[in-house]
Structure formats: C-alpha cells, structure tokens
Symmetry: C2
Subunit: 283 residues, 2 copies
C-alpha cells in the first residue's frame, strides 16, 4: 500500500509509524511545505521518500491530510481534483464542519473520508511522533453516508490495524462537543499560563511552589499556536459558547467564594467531582 | 523518635511512611477523629498505635498536624498549650497566614514550625498515602525567626532525611503565590468539570471524545471538597484576585476569538507557551 502523507508532523508522523508497524508492504511518500520536516521525517523512518503534492497523490492508494485546518480546507478540494475513483483520501482535521462543507459538492466526494483521531500531545513536529499514539484511541468518522463503500472498507480496515475504535458523528455534533472536551481545555490552560506568568514576574516563586497539579492543569499551554489558531477560528461559534459557560461557572464560584459560603463552595466541588469516573475511563 | 501524627490522610500518611523508611527507630502514634482512617492507617503501617490528642502529644518528640486548615487553626493553640520546651510541632497546612496568626502570641511559639510541603495528589485518605510523595519536593518554611534553634535543627534534619529542599517565605508571600500556582489551578479544573458536565448530559460524547489533554486539565476536579473549601475560605482575598485576573484573561481571549483575530490569538498563545521551561522543571 502506498500512502501520500501530506503533513509529516505529530499526527501524520504517528499515523505513518503505526501503519508501518502494523501492516506489511507500506510505502509512505511525504509532502510538506517545510523541508526541514521532510528531512527529519526521512531520518526518523516516518516517510520513505518525498514528492510534490501532485506526484504523491497520483501514485498513492491512500492520501492522508494531517495539516492545520485552515490549510486543509483550501488544499482538500485540490487533492480531490487529482484523485481517481479507486483512491481514498482521509483528513485528520480537528474541526469537521468546514472541511466537510469544502467538498460537499465535489464530484469525487465518495473518495473522501472525514475523520478525527482523538489522540495528540502538547508537542508538534515529526520528532514528536510515536507509533503508539493512536493505539486504543477513538477515531471519529463524519458523514459516513457520503463516502464510497470501497473507501469506507479500507478506512475501517486501517483503523482496525491501528487498534482504533470508529465512532460515527455528524460534523455539527463533532464540532459542538469537541469545543467542550478539547478546545475549551486548551484555552483554560493557555489563560492559566498567562495569568500566572503575568503575576509571577519573578519566576523563582513559581519554581518553588508549582507542583504536579499545576503542571497537569497548565500542560496544554505548551501547545502550538500555529496549529490551534485556525482550529479556534473555524470552531469560533461553539467555542465562544463554551467559553461563556466556563466564565459563568468561574464567576459563580467567585461569588460563593467572596461570600465565604462554605456549603455552596462544597456543593460546587461535589458536582465537579462527578467527572471522576469519566476521566478514570480515559486512556 | 516518637511522632504524634494528627491527621493520617494523604499528607500525614505519606510523611509517616517516608520518615519510617528513612530513619531508624521511629514510632508513630495516630490521632484522627475518623476511626475508619485510624484502622486503615494501622493496617497500612502508617501508624503503630493510636491515642487521644493529649496522650499522643504528651509522649511524642514531634507533633505533625496534617489536617484541614480550619481544624488546624482551632487545634494548633490547644496543642501548643500541651507541649514542653523541647518538643517540636509542625503543621502542613496549605495556607500559612491564618495558622501563624493563631499562635503568634503563644508562649510556646518557639516550639512551632510553620511549613507547607509542595506535594499532593487529587486523592485523599490513608489509602492514598505513599512513601515517595515528598521526595525531591520543596518544603516551604514560614517565620523561621520565630522558631527555636533546637526545633529548626530537627525540622531541617527531617526534611533532609526526606530529600526535601527547604525554601523560606513569609506567610503573606506564601498565601499570595500559592493562590496563583495551586488554588487557581484547582478552581479552573473544578469549573471546567462543571462546564462540561452541564453541557454533556449524555456522557457518551465525553467518553468518545475526551482525550488525555482533557483528562490532564480536569484532573484536579477530583480533589476533596472537605479539604479545599477551608483552604479557599482562608485564602479568599488572594484567590479572589487571582480569579479576577484569570476571568479577565479568558474574556480577553474570547474577545479576540469572536473577532477571529488570528494574530492576537497567536500572540496570546505564544505568551502562554512561555510556561514551557517552567513546567518542564517541575518534578
């Protein structure tokens, strides 16, 4: 199987490493506008060669698009123009509404599978990729009914190879829920970081006093602005609503804190404690 | 050395297990109003016996107070009334202003060392205790000048045994900085949890879509309301200020998000990225 890997960073790179480990006879052709990334991906064994987008797409069975979501929506229609009926194009974008809309009327829509692997870390680039990132994770699949049978079968087979579980969702549901369980977490971390940095000009206090709890809560503040800015913009409406709710919850807590209302504070925290069985179930 | 351990939960229990592992001839007498906790602590080898507060204090070289901060401020003066000049009393409270004020004029003030180990997890109770919790962590020491030389020497020796580094700080500085690097993280997690739970009545979406990033950010929402409510109340003024700044940061981000101002969003995130070397240094 020949794969055109467009974007050889954390997600694309981890996918390629996993497929290579799980399947025989896989050749990966890298496409990346960043030539440093191509060199690193070659050295790390993520890709076996490089090519232009057109060359790579033409010669491959599967095209994987693992690039920032703004580049994705503009590049996907071009890729779709290049593919033949038997080819499979999969995107790994973190928003699904805009990308599905971008090709909704494309004559080759059946060649495309809209997907989002629920996997990632706060790092980026080919050197951050590792072959087990996708293992036992969820792969969200949107608009299954618009993909061809041949394409869906191959997609399902690849997900099975990778030990991923496929979950169907509409692009609208995906974008709404992901705003709450992923995008909002990132913003809460980014803002926690800027809050603490602004206060603690003298870093030694942070070094002395910050423990593993702070490190855990602020970890996502290390995430790549270049990757997240387009995601937040594409999902602005849902995320803005999630942020409104989050700010309202914080204001409610501040209200009972300022009133030193022990009972109300404890009932707020007890409600929050209900997340425990849910996060204990997250791998 | 005989230790009276008042509070046999995560912090007190971990301290006792560590001291027992690192020092010869240590006997720990447990004091806890919760008799279940006493039984568990006996079974887990955290304590070697139990006694009333008065009995335990009378027969010990060192008294450790590892209880919620509201109980601490009321119990500490009683303990101080019971001790003799050669004894050492250490508290592990997460706020330091109120506890230092509670004994500032006590005739035995020199027997007391105000401390806060920068260590913890989101769990509580004796079964959550483990002997390496304090290892390589910071121990904040407040008002060193008010403790006696004999007491300070023994305190420093114990910290050294536990591979902890002692850092001096005023209670005022401690309470201000801890609001930012610990208390605020907890509230950002509690509020993230209630936000997501309120939205996602149907838990299956959370199960499907929440990844390790969400789990990390919301982890502290599992923390004990009974422990944190008194901490937040005692540090209400500092925490309220920290929450104001945090909410303002979130509102600022929402403002540039709603304007879809890519440049401003990225510069916000780049500023947040500066936390990276700091959290990479946290053990």
């Amino acid at each position: 199987m020949k794969i055109a890997l467009v974007g050889v960073g954390l997600i694309g790179g981890s996918f390629a490493l996993a497929v290579k480990r799980r399947r025989l006879h896989v050749e990966v052709i890298g496409v990346d506008k960043n030539s440093d990334n191509i060199q690193k991906a070659l050295q790390l064994g993520i890709i076996d060669g490089e090519a232009s987008l057109e060359e790579a797409v033409k010669q491959s069975d599967v095209v994987i698009l693992a690039i920032p979501v703004d580049a994705l929506t503009s590049l996907l229609p071009q890729v779709m123009d290049l593919v033949d009926d038997g080819q499979l194009v999969i995107d790994f974008g973190s928003t699904k509404g805009a990308v599905c809309t971008a090709v909704e009327d494309h004559p080759k829509r059946h060649c495309f599978v809209a997907a989002h692997p629920m996997a990632g870390t706060e790092y980026s680039g080919p050197e951050a990729a590792f072959s087990t990132l996708f293992e036992d994770k969820i792969m969200i699949l949107c608009e299954e009914e618009k993909s061809g049978d041949e394409q869906l079968n191959l997609f399902q087979e690849i997900c099975k190879n990778l030990a991923m579980r496929v979950v169907n969702m509409t692009p609208k549901d995906h974008d709404l829920h992901i705003a709450y369980v992923s995008h909002l977490s990132h913003i809460s971390s980014f803002a926690l970081s800027t809050t603490v940095l602004a206060k603690e000009k003298d870093e030694k206090h942070i070094f002395a006093m910050a423990g593993s709890g702070f490190a855990s809560t602020v970890r996502l503040a290390k995430s790549s602005p270049a990757m997240w800015s387009p995601i937040f913009r594409q999902n602005q409406k849902n995320l803005s609503g999630a942020l409104d709710t989050y700010i309202a919850q914080l204001q409610q807590f501040k209200h009972v804190l300022d009133a030193k209302d022990a009972e109300a504070m404890e009932s707020f925290m007890k409600e929050a404690n209900k997340i425990r069985p849910i996060i204990d179930g997250i791998k």
